[in-house]
């Protein structure tokens, strides 16, 4: 070069041929990592589903989670409307594990804080916002579009136990407790009107292990609120628990014939009775209808009032009517009663009711001939409730029964005397009317008469002891007889006066 000293020569070292190729390991590793991440992302990517709700309160796209048993299994991606804008359609993406869960009967609901009587749930949603809960169904049919529940289901799937249905007259609020010996063993899940609108089907869930106590003969009854029964036995108040006092509930117990019962299958349909008494009644399989025609007031007799035979409840009043005979202008009140012979049979210790196979009318005729009569009696003085009593009155006047009348007639026997209330009221009215302060003069007169009668009797006594035809007492006797005659006149005058003014006995002479 131009400036003096030449630069020193550097030694040339041949390059390694291997190392440069090693650099390509980096993109290969990167590709492997990237591929692995991609595969993981794709694998974690589960099914996308849609759920329709009535509204999307509290739901946020990209934020609201889907949770199964409080484990996050997905996220809401999008919130939109159905084509007719009737519902809100949630598009959600689930994790891969959830793929087989998306079956026909999988349920979705929006979990929000819920404060019900007896329990508080979903408090965490107050902070974190609502989430969509899901409950995996047991169906095998896959599904991707769901209709969400508007209510949080009471019992989540997978809870051991069995579901039953009880048909009753009244709805029980979902979530109401089910009791077994005052132990809460389940909940009411649904309450739906039957298709024909006549009864309510109450879905019940009884948790394991209590579900094995539910047999085909188990009786369910409403345990709601205060049950105050006002019947001929007086007032009865019964409360199952404080919760049922507010929201109602259902109790069950083995039925009267529980011995041969088998465990009830899932979905078994029971009857929901109104009360424990109703539930525990012998099932009245056979019944006979009769009519009792009363010619007196049936005030205090209600439909459902008992029909008793010597104090044993045999049946009930099913109808109260009114008959009018235009010819005689006579009103009668026919009372229809239903007798359950089974109840009598159940209590029978000796003999049998079925000894003689004969038709019901023939048997009724024989019984009436023996004196079977129906009477209206007061069951409770306090309430004035009445019931129909059946008994045998052999002295009762014989009656002719209408053999073709249906239902058969049991002749009525009036019992005014036994109508305690009526007679007491009458007595009270009489006493009230008694003018006790005006009876005085009348009593004085009666006293005079009695004194005269007394002296006359003592005279007669003397006469009887000293009587002789020629005795000197004959003159006395004459005098006695005259006195008796005077006394008799006095009595006769009193009798006349009383006959003319009978009220003077009470009101005194005016």
């Amino acid at each position: 070069m131009s400036d003096g000293s030449d630069p020193p020569e550097a030694m040339i070292v041949p390059r390694s041929r291997f190392l440069p190729e090693l650099i390509w390991a980096i993109p290969i590793v990167a590709a492997l990592i990237g591929g692995w991440l991609a595969v993981r992302a794709i694998r974690a990517h589960g099914p996308t589903i849609t759920v329709s709700f009535r509204d999307a309160a509290g739901l946020v796209a990209g934020k609201t989670k889907l949770k199964y048993r409080d484990v996050e299994v997905g996220e809401v991606r999008d919130i939109g409307f159905s084509p007719d804008r009737a519902t809100v359609v949630i598009t959600a993406e689930l994790v891969r594990e959830a793929e087989p869960w998306m079956v026909d009967d999988t349920r979705f609901w929006v979990a929000r804080a819920r404060v019900a009587v007896g329990e508080v749930t979903g408090l965490e949603t107050l902070l974190s916002g609502a989430y969509i809960g899901l409950d995996v169904g047991s169906s095998r049919r896959e599904r991707r579009d769901f209709v969400g529940l508007e209510e949080v289901p009471i019992v989540s799937g997978g809870t051991p136990g069995r579901a039953f249905v009880a048909r009753g007259a009244r709805a029980i609020g979902a979530g109401s407790p089910i009791f077994f010996h005052h132990l809460q063993v389940g909940e009411v899940t649904t309450s739906d009107l039957d298709g024909d609108g006549r009864e309510v089907s109450v879905g019940m869930f009884v948790r394991a292990p209590f579900d094995r106590y539910v047999t085909t003969s188990t009786r369910f009854w409403e345990a709601g609120g205060i049950r105050a029964t006002l019947d001929t036995a007086g007032v009865k108040v019964d409360v199952e628990s404080l919760v049922t006092l507010l929201v109602g509930g259902i109790s069950f117990e083995p039925g009267p014939a529980a011995g041969d019962a088998s465990p009830a299958p899932t979905g078994h349909r029971f009857v929901l009775f109104r009360s424990r008494d109703d539930a525990m009644k012998q099932p009245d399989t056979e019944s006979e209808d009769y009519t009792v025609v009363f010619h007196q007031t049936v005030r205090g007799l209600a439909i459902g009032a008992p029909v008793e035979f010597r104090g044993i409840a045999l049946g009930e009043v099913t109808g109260i009517g009114l008959d009018y005979d235009p010819a005689t202008l006579d009103f009668a009140t026919p009372v229809e009663v239903r007798i359950y012979p089974g109840r009598l049979r159940a209590r029978l210790r000796h003999g049998s009711l079925d000894e003689k196979p004969e038709s019901a009318p023939a048997r009724l005729r024989r019984l009436v001939d023996r004196g079977l009569r129906a009477q209206l009696r007061s069951g409770s003085l306090l309430t004035g409730q009445k019931f129909v009593a059946l008994d045998f009155f052999p002295d009762a006047p014989r009656v002719r029964l209408d053999p073709v009348r249906h239902p058969g007639e049991i002749p009525a026997l009036p019992n005014d005397g036994e109508d305690l209330q009526t007679s007491l009221a009458g007595a009270a009215r009489t006493v009230e009317r008694l003018p006790l302060n005006e009876v005085g003069p009348l009593i004085g007169e009666v006293r005079q008469v009695l004194a005269k009668a007394g002296s006359a009797l003592s005279d007669a006594d003397r006469v009887v002891s000293q009587f002789g035809p020629t005795s000197p007492q004959r003159a006395d006797l004459d005098e006695v007889l005259q006195q008796i005659a005077r006394a008799a006149r006095s009595v006769s005058a009193l009798a006349d006066s009383l006959e003319r003014h009978p009220e003077s006995l009470i009101r005194g002479r005016r």
């Binding site: 630069p7 020193p8 020569e9 030694m11 650099i23 990209g62 934020k63």
Partner: protein, 210 residues
Amino acid sequence: MKPQTAGRAGLLLCPACGMLNRCGRTEAVSRRPGCAHCGLHLRARKPHSQSRALALLLAAAILYAPANLLPILETSSPFGSQRDTIMSGIKFLWTGGSWPLALIILIASILIPLAKLLTLGALLFSVHRRWRGARLQRARLYRMLERIGRWSMTDVFVAAVLSKLVQLRGLARISVGPAAIAFGAVVVLTMMATRAFDPRLIWDPETVEA
């Protein structure tokens, strides 16, 4: 007129001590290998510059996808848990009103890495095809590429700091997602690729032709 360069003069400049060495023709002229002054291995060009830069660039490009698609931050608190990708974080900031911050993150985390990938790719392509035009611009582009390289690490830095700072046991938890690693790798790989690329190659075709 051809510019005089060290290469054309048959000289090598030691980058460590600044000494000029002559390119040796035979092996046993000097006893010591490398720079006669300080012993540094002297190279006329960075070895395998193109293939190294390409390999690193390719690796960075591959990892750019998961870095942006996967969540970078996983936040969990009683108010719900959340997984944020870089883009969703930017969207959140933008809709939340702090658009200057969103803009900064957008530029630093998405645009700069992307720009680096593209420009380095373009430079490599141009060198490979021995383009002759716009050499000055390409040289400037490369210098800029080197300068902005480290800025992309802000995102990873923020994520790392947050995940260590916000650990309120039982209340809130922030953890770094898989994208953070990928993103860090992207930044490091692009920087390495930039380093591996020899800007002298931009000027080389002229020298070679000459």
